[in-house]
């Protein structure tokens, strides 16, 4: 005879299997893809779509007054915690750095301001029952080009 606790566990297992069968997983968000679509719609040309720079999603897009395309990288917020990431990325990409996070623009990599913004967004998200952690978008404007607000 199956013990009572065994029956309860079997019921829970059946519930889990049913949830798994009927659960339709939403497609993983692709912030780089969404940005590319938005920039294309605004008339920009995507010069160098790519999956990754050392596994980091990124692309490049043309801007009317710039001779070279603007390189764009999307970082997971936690990834930038390493103090060595920004100097490394800046050394590779060059140009003038611009940071876009959660709709706010920064003309330099201000770690403290970014963390403050993340904390505020987290608290607001908790209050509204919706926690989202947008990527840190880093743009590298080529020499001779003035950074603008593109997003």
């Amino acid at each position: 005879m199956i013990p009572r606790f065994g029956l309860a566990t079997a019921t829970a297992l059946a519930l889990f299997v049913l949830l798994g069968i009927f659960h339709r997983e939403a497609a993983a968000p692709d912030p780089a893809g969404a940005l590319i679509a938005r920039l294309r719609a605004e008339g920009h040309t995507i010069a160098k779509p790519r999956k990754a720079l050392w596994d980091t999603p990124g692309f490049a897009f043309s801007v009317a007054d710039c001779l070279a395309p603007v390189e764009t990288l999307l970082f997971d917020f936690d990834e930038i915690l390493s103090p060595g990431i920004m100097p490394a990325v800046q050394a590779v990409e060059g140009g003038t750095l611009q940071v876009d996070y959660a709709g706010q623009r920064f003309d330099r990599f201000d770690r403290a301001a970014l963390y403050g913004l993340r904390l505020r967004n987290g608290a607001t998200g908790l209050l509204h029952g919706r926690l989202v952690d947008p990527p840190v978008i880093i743009l590298f404007w080529p020499a001779g080009c003035t950074p603008k607000d593109v997003f």
């Binding site: 889990f16 798994g20 939403a26 990834e79």
Partner: protein
């Protein structure tokens, strides 16, 4: 309803449910593979160490004493697991959350405390939410790698986490995904789990074995990063190709090897036990 539930029965059923939850994602990936290439990629990504750990954990609960636990605790634990089903979109976080909650819930019961701890370690081993740790360790790794290369006379320069060498003049940036902690977590926690399920109590020597395993994990990863700097082809291989598989297998071999040496019946007992015997 009976007032108490037999402990081995409770552990067997609840852990079977948790094991299904733990492996469900992997099974779904295998079953839903659209083609043979995807299936092959999925199968090669399955880690063997957790399979061994679960197997050992089930062996451990078979040896639990034939006591009983309060019915409220048994059904409360089951209810907690069922509540975590609602987080089906975030299975890994669900498992981490419920393992932590069960660990706290079982902390006061000596028979269940170790089962809860092993479950929590299994959950932590997956590295969910550990990107900040990996990011910080990647910075340390860069310093260690460049220092080692400097010591052996290899020309190397670095800017932050960017390492420039003769093989990779355009450089290699060490991101969180390449940090040694990605190997330290499965190896160190894996050994701790194996020791917890095969020992009455941990000795001081056991912590030494764990520290040694962590050091070997760092050495393996630094070696891998060094090889990645050889050329673009070497980078591809050691990052996600055959080389990466070799690193995984080496991690498994070291962890299992250290566990076998540490628990070998012919090994003299730990220092603490020796001194206790000498005192007696």
């Amino acid at each position: 309803m009976r007032e108490r539930v037999p402990l081995p029965q409770f552990c067997l059923y609840l852990l079977a449910l948790l094991a299904v939850q733990y492996w469900a994602g992997t099974v779904a990936l295998v079953v839903r593979s659209p083609n043979l290439d995807t299936l092959e990629r999925t199968l090669t990504q399955i880690s063997i160490l957790p399979v061994i750990e679960w197997f050992m954990l089930f062996g451990f609960i078979r040896r639990l004493p034939h006591r009983t636990i309060p019915v409220t605790l048994a059904y409360g634990s089951l209810a907690l697991v069922v509540v975590a089903f609602t987080l089906i979109n975030h299975q890994r976080f669900a498992f981490l959350f419920e393992s932590f909650a069960l660990f706290l819930l079982w902390l006061r019961l000596p028979d269940l405390r170790r089962v809860g701890l092993v479950l929590l370690l299994i959950a932590l081993q997956r590295g969910q939410g550990m990107t900040p740790l990996h990011a910080l360790v990647s910075w340390v790794d860069t310093r260690v790698l460049t220092s080692v290369m400097g010591l052996i006379g290899q020309p190397v320069t670095w800017i932050g986490n960017l390492v420039l060498s003769q093989g990779m003049p355009d450089g290699l940036v060490i991101l969180a995904g390449c940090a040694s902690s990605n190997l330290m977590l499965p190896m160190g926690l894996g050994l701790l789990i194996l020791l917890l399920v095969s020992r009455e109590r941990l000795t001081r020597a056991d912590y030494g074995w764990v520290a040694l395993t962590l050091a070997v994990a760092v050495a393996i990863n630094i070696g891998r990063l060094y090889l990645m700097l050889g050329s673009h082809a070497a980078y591809q291989s050691w990052h996600e190709g055959t080389g990466a598989s070799i690193v995984s297998v080496a991690g498994l071999v070291v962890t299992m090897g250290v566990w076998m040496i540490a628990t070998h019946p012919k090994r003299p007992p730990g220092r603490r036990k020796l001194s206790r015997e000498a005192g007696a």
